[in-house]
């Protein structure tokens, strides 16, 4: 018996389905791309066409300048056939519109997870495990030292910090990714504490997603904000942009804040441990829930996490991709 060609494999352009002749989250321009979510390491410009969950489309327009004619949207769970391969998108719980992509042919089911988290964040459709034979998974936080506390506890801490800053006449600047983390933060802020000011790039993403921004203030050059909470993308930290909010205290909202050394290195005063990726237990549980006998790990601590799975009797391997990075800098 000779080996069948795999349903999905990695090519220099990215993850590829030869039977359907489509790429998933390609890192180079291709003719037809299926997109799990609109973060920059998964959705890149200059492809011929993009297929994604509906909520993701406006972000692709905003960030990649994609034209409406290039975009096609699907709903979660909706089936579509491409050259005989059945595709469907399933909630990944990572950011609004994020999806796992299921490809099925000849009774074989492959799922690419994109990025995901298992805790419900209140703004993204919660992760739903999809039964499959082969699970291609991220493992950004695939080490047991990464273990998240419930977000309610983290937000309670964040509010305490905000109130303390306010009492000291200091503004509270929170760095959060414009897509995902920022919406999650805004949705959980207790607006009775004080004013909330939103950086333009965050504002635009919220608008594109159709989120209600009433009561929030959009930052402009002469806004002043003693005691307010400012939501800014990480790129704004350390830049002159923040000077207008002086004196301020700077916090970061990220899974990497779990490690004190990394927290110190970022030069933020406060690190709140809140991630849009699954923690170690989340990853382990997610893999188990798929029932997959083979697991391919795309990014994160792929070497130790694959060994961990192998010791549990799962055929796990590393897959060399261009998503995220090994560690340190969080893929959004």
């Amino acid at each position: 018996m000779f080996a069948r060609e795999p349903l999905l494999r990695v090519t220099p352009q990215g993850l590829y389905c030869p039977r359907a002749d489509v790429h998933i989250d390609p890192w180079q321009p291709v003719k037809r791309a299926l997109i799990t979510h609109a973060h920059s390491d998964h959705a890149r410009p200059d492809c011929g066409s993009y297929l994604a969950q509906r909520e993701t489309l406006p972000i692709l327009r905003l960030r990649l300048g994609a034209q409406p004619s290039q975009l096609q949207g699907v709903d979660y769970g909706e089936e579509l056939f491409i050259n005989g391969v059945r595709f469907s998108f399933h909630p990944a719980g990572h950011v609004p519109g994020s999806a796992q992509i299921l490809a099925e042919a000849d009774g074989e089911r492959w799922v690419f997870s994109g990025d995901y988290k298992t805790e419900s964040d209140g703004v993204s459709r919660p992760f739903e495990p999809v039964r499959c034979d082969v699970f291609i998974s991220e493992c950004t936080f695939g080490l047991p030292v990464f273990s998240w506390r419930p977000q309610a506890e983290v937000f309670a801490e964040l509010h305490e910090w905000w109130r303390r800053n306010q009492a000291a006449g200091v503004s509270s600047v929170v760095c959060a990714y414009a897509l995902g983390k920022a919406q999650r933060l805004l949705a959980h802020l207790d607006r009775s504490v004080g004013r909330v000011i939103v950086h333009s790039s965050v504002w635009e993403v919220c608008e594109a997603l159709g989120h209600d921004l009433s009561g929030f203030e959009r930052a402009n050059s002469d806004i002043r904000a003693q005691g307010a909470l400012v939501v800014a993308p990480p790129a704004a930290a350390g830049g002159a942009w923040l000077n207008r909010f002086s004196p301020y205290s700077l916090a970061s909202l990220s899974g990497w804040m779990a490690i004190r050394g990394m927290r110190r290195r970022r030069g933020v005063e406060r690190g709140f441990v809140l991630s849009d990726h699954a923690d170690f237990r989340g990853l382990t549980d997610a893999v188990a829930a798929t029932g997959a006998s083979r697991v391919l790990l795309t990014h994160g601590y792929t070497a130790p996490f694959s060994r961990w799975l192998c010791e549990k009797g799962i055929d796990a391997r590393e897959l060399d991709t261009a998503f995220g990075s090994e560690d340190g800098e969080e893929s959004p």
């Binding site: 080490l143 030292v145 779990a258 490690i259 050394g261 990394m262 290195r265 560690d327 340190g328």
Partner: protein
């Protein structure tokens, strides 16, 4: 009332010195009896005796958490701190009671006497009742020091504020209160009793000279001395006794019996500041020789004969039981010369560090390059009028080292760093060529800028094949100029040499690996 764990985290989250002092003062002011002394002890960087080794702690953590040892190791490599790693894997549930530092210390100290399985059980039981944060601080006590970025000076400042005494006084008292349990705010505010007190003075420390020496002003306002390659120490002669203190404020009298003996000849009520050096014949030898005398429980007669030591005095802090620290250095040195002259001690054993004569800075600069031939590392420059001020006050004392030895080495292994550098590949091993092969000769951790570190980190991640285990072999491509202070032949090292204080001087982006130095270059430096 704040507990020690909250203090620890509050201190580690602020970079403001005044905020740190405020936090410490508040804590000291409210600390219960029995806790204050230990807090001071630990905050000053002292360690408790270890009851479990790192590998025993790892083993216990693996058992308690059900995480396989290899995965614990991988985690540790990323976290870069064993105490923190364990706290994340083996934390239990906080008891909700205020943490008692005293109880923790007692527990850690009680481990010494217990058999291994009992020690393991005690620690595992303690972990069960701790939150992650509590466990981290507790594990710090188990694994060594707190390393929290609080200098001894800050502790003294805060203690002085809490005790309502002045800093110099508190600093002195701390040195004489040898038993941690004696430390209390009233005890620190008390005047010490004169002759019983064998405490040294807080050492006056120098800064490295970074500017051109011409900017210091006229040469005649400065005293230049050789910077001796030994251990900084004070000899305290009071009440018929002698105490020798190292710069770490550690009592080292027993390690140097010959100094104790000869110092009996010094006049009563005097304190000398200077350098303990190993002797080679009559001359000061390199530090590597002195090293063989250090960290030994007992000094054998053979060792005393093999590696004799002497004292090179350069300052006099007390004479006739009178504190001379507010007398100008020039005068202190004259008095020092006079008492050494009168003491009748051989110049080989106790000598005055000579003043190096010079008329122009340029002239001194040229002599600096010959420092190693004189058994020195460079020059100390001290303002002739300077008073003796404890700590590292800028401006009147400078160290001006000779340029280090340097060779170009190739990066061959990388390991993840610790603390602020956790997760980044910042610990490097460098090699030089030997018969067409690269042999490692030095490990270095410092010398690169943050952006260079990120660049090297990215290179390491992209150019390693072997991804398991802490040490990553790297494709030999990057060349760095490695500086070091000393070098000697060594059979233990594959390269045949051991280097002292290696560090990265610069990244030789202009050089391919093939043009790095050879073992031969290193060997020539040893001669």
């Amino acid at each position: 009332m704040t507990d020690f764990v909250s203090l620890y985290f509050a201190l580690s989250e602020t970079s403001s010195t005044s905020q740190k002092v405020r936090l410490l003062t508040e804590f000291f002011g409210a600390a219960p009896q029995g806790e204050l002394g230990w807090a001071v002890h630990l905050l000053r960087g002292e360690k408790l005796e270890r009851g479990l080794s790192s590998s025993q702690l790892r083993q216990l953590c693996a058992e308690v958490s059900g995480i396989p040892p290899w995965l614990l190791e991988e985690s540790y490599q990323v976290v870069g701190d064993l105490a923190e790693t364990i706290s994340k894997l083996a934390a239990g549930k906080a008891s909700g009671e205020r943490v008692s530092l005293q109880k923790w210390v007692e527990l850690v100290r009680s481990l010494r006497e217990a058999p291994l399985d009992e020690r393991m059980a005690k620690v595992a039981e303690a972990w069960r009742h701790m939150s992650e944060a509590e466990s981290l601080v507790f594990n710090k006590l188990l694994t060594g020091g707190l390393r929290i970025g609080v200098s001894r000076g800050l502790v003294v400042k805060a203690l002085a504020a809490a005790a309502g005494a002045d800093e110099a006084q508190v600093s002195q008292r701390l040195l004489s209160l040898r038993d941690v349990r004696e430390i209390s705010l009233p005890a620190l505010a008390e005047q010490g009793s004169g002759s019983e007190n064998m405490a040294p003075y807080p050492f006056c420390l120098a800064h490295p000279l970074e500017a051109e020496p011409q900017q210091l002003g006229e040469p005649e306002e400065w005293i230049a001395e050789w910077k001796w390659d030994g251990i900084r120490a004070q000899i305290v002669r009071r009440g018929g006794r002698v105490a020798v203190w190292s710069r770490g404020e550690e009592l080292v009298t027993e390690s140097f019996p010959e100094l104790e003996l000869l110092s009996q000849k010094l006049p009563e009520g005097c304190v000398l500041d200077g350098e303990i050096v190993a002797l080679d014949g009559d001359e000061p030898a390199a530090f590597s020789r002195l090293q063989q005398r250090l960290n030994r429980k007992r000094i054998s007669i053979t060792l005393l004969k093999q590696i004799p030591v002497g004292f090179i005095a350069y300052d006099l802090l007390e004479l006739n039981s009178e504190d001379l620290r507010n007398v100008p250095l020039g005068v202190r040195r004259q008095k020092l010369a006079a008492i050494l002259e009168k003491a009748g001690i051989s110049k080989r054993d106790l000598r005055l560090s000579p003043e190096v004569e010079f008329c122009q800075w340029q002239q001194l600069d040229r002599m600096r390059e010959g420092a190693r031939e004189n058994g020195a590392e460079g020059f100390m420059l001290k303002s002739r009028d300077s008073l003796y001020i404890g700590g590292r006050k800028r401006g009147s004392w400078w160290k001006w080292k000779a340029n280090p030895y340097s060779v170009d080495g190739v990066l061959v292994y990388a390991q993840r760093g610790h603390g602020r550098r956790a997760g980044l590949f910042t610990d490097y091993t460098f090699a030089v060529w030997k018969d067409g092969e690269l042999v490692p000769f030095a490990k270095a951790y410092s010398g690169l800028t943050d952006s260079e570190i990120r660049e090297v980190d990215a290179f390491v991640k992209a150019h390693t094949k072997e991804r398991f285990g802490p040490v990553r072999p790297v494709e030999p491509q990057l060349v760095f100029e490695i500086g070091f202070e000393g070098i000697q032949a060594s059979r233990r090292h594959k390269s045949g040499v051991a280097v002292r204080f290696p560090r990265i001087l610069r990244w030789r982006k202009d050089k391919p690996a093939s043009e790095a130095d050879t073992v031969e270059t290193l060997r020539q430096l040893t001669s």
